[in-house]
Symmetry: C2
Amino acid sequence: MTAYNAFYAQSGGVTPVINASAAGVIQTAALHPDQINKVYAGQDGILGALTETLIDTSLESTQDIEALKYTPSGAFGSCRYKLKGVDDFKAQYERLIDVFKAHDIRYFFYNGGGDSQDTTHKVSQVAEKMGYPITCVGIPKTIDNDLPFTDCSPGFGSVAKYVAVSILEASMDVASMSSSSTKVFVMEVMGRHAGWIAAASGLAADERELGPDIIIFPERVFDPEAFTSKVAEAVARKGHCAVVVSEGAKYSDGRFLADSGVKDAFGHAQLGGVAPVVCDLIKRTLNLKCHWAVCDYLQRAARHIGSKTDVEHAYALGKAAVELALNGQNAVMPTIKRLSNAPYKWTTSHVELKDVANVEEKMPSHYISDDGFFITPECREYLQPLILGEDYPSYSNGIPDYVVLKKNKVPRLLAHFEVE
Amino acid sequence: MTAYNAFYAQSGGVTPVINASAAGVIQTAALHPDQINKVYAGQDGILGALTETLIDTSLESTQDIEALKYTPSGAFGSCRYKLKGVDDFKAQYERLIDVFKAHDIRYFFYNGGGDSQDTTHKVSQVAEKMGYPITCVGIPKTIDNDLPFTDCSPGFGSVAKYVAVSILEASMDVASMSSSSTKVFVMEVMGRHAGWIAAASGLAADERELGPDIIIFPERVFDPEAFTSKVAEAVARKGHCAVVVSEGAKYSDGRFLADSGVKDAFGHAQLGGVAPVVCDLIKRTLNLKCHWAVCDYLQRAARHIGSKTDVEHAYALGKAAVELALNGQNAVMPTIKRLSNAPYKWTTSHVELKDVANVEEKMPSHYISDDGFFITPECREYLQPLILGEDYPSYSNGIPDYVVLKKNKVPRLLAHFEVE
């Protein structure tokens, strides 16, 4: 049997565990030298294929590849670049096939969200039309947890753990301060279209009344009066209040809270930030001292508090992708399948890419409480297993010793190609 | 020998490790039942003494007291309340002595920053004048690291570790995204008067060019042009840039950047936030895509990434406070004394409160680089040991199982006292 090379790339917003999927691909490929020769990683996602900027992962040490399991970010660089339609931009797809041909690449692994699964699907179609034999497998990744068919998406579990732990800690802080100082704490989390991340903060809530008292979801129209009366109620009852707000929170007219027309002294519209807007509202209407935090990249880079379950999912899906490809499965995506909640059991399965492409998995309506400001027990039951277990990186000098790969490039064989 | 009761309270902004000092006090006191009967904790700091709201720590389980070592926030409640001058508000001090007398309290332990050390000193003076025998010992605590005589203050090391780890992770994230998306990441940290916390982020910088490229200190006037040219240089050289900014950053006219006249759509001045101001500046002048985060309480509550060294300091100082008191040392504060940097060795010592009160320890000028935007090797040498070691809390269901104490109150014996 002839061994061919594989292409692997990372796409879209990075996560604490996308590199664990990379490790799964590279280490599993290495177990099958009769079928896979080298794994070439695209520098900066699919752009690396278009520009023929390929990283030879076989030149990295086995220790460094192992360290990918606990290194956040995209070790090979990611991209926000969506391949255009096949009919209008055929040259792009032909270029991909040219690069794959030139470098003897017969396996294509693309690690990303919905757009990336669409890209993987299109590449498989174009290759088939052009008669180039390549096996295309998408690997799910997104902190937004909005990919269909898979029980969850790698990356989400670790972000969920980060936001739950962070709001737990901050809620204890504000409780300590509330008798003579701050009464309300507001934490902004990601999730422009779906409230999965905001929902995960609810895992910190317990019978001791720690964690968030109120969660503001993008799925529900934000009602300032209903919200402030809930804040007032919590402060009256227990002396303080912790709020988690999704960056995607919207007014009834569809405007994002983060786009509330905030301007600086020069009249320039200011970059978003919904937490300060919510804090302002509380201050103006209730006259309570309020603190706020915006997690932004910290939440999706925080591998130091990664979920062991999430890391295992990510690795397993990278491994499954290679195994699917070696079994001749083309245009598929491996998925996580939940077998039971308590004890949590799962396995991998797979789905055809034609079914995945551009379908967005919404948070079920019954996962949000009737008043619109909290999660339901069903939601909690779904989320709980995803943050289980700790998987700490190793440290040196008090700092995680995350790996930075050498990223040796494969010599270019083709002429320059201008990426539009 | 007759055993008397002890009073312990927490004051000011809480930290990830102030409860470790509480554990040090309570567990050490328990070793000397011949001298210390019970430790009564003040509910919400000194307010608990004034209002005679005392928590009987002997009614907590030994496991719960042990769990204080890894529980953030102030387990007994803290306060932002500074006792007024002795001459003008004698009634306050007399009330304290009345409460101590009524509850047989002959040891006073106050765990806080500069103001709290001043309070402890005043209480010792008033007690002496009134002829009430009580031994007063301050226990240092502040994430601001601005207490004099002690090599460092408990709380700071864990916040330092949090900001260093967080900017390391976020810098890797922006590096992954920079080829086709975000080029600059800005993280805001605490420290209104001193740049210690901002400085600690520099520990994440290494020869691989991770961590912060630029640190904005409150000790240096913010020069927008010098700053943006440094951002532009970093982006030109390596494709991206990570910035850490202290909430205390100021313009040359003394205005805080956070008070840049930011107004919402209704013309209301918005709550601070210097990171969005810095991001706006970058966007306007350099037209680069920029992300920002504001850590706020998350940084000082993040016991999940606490520094083992810091936890050990905090516990040791609680223990030392009790031992000093039992040795008859009055009006003193235990301190951390550094013996060597590598390997890091330290011990406890102590200082008289009359020397501590209201002295603020500034960051030495030679800890900031000549261009004003980074730390020097001397600064790094000082900071490095303070973040050494990890000391993880235990977890249950994926969340740290921080303790919430029962806080049983000691029955009141006195009439109500109105706190001004």
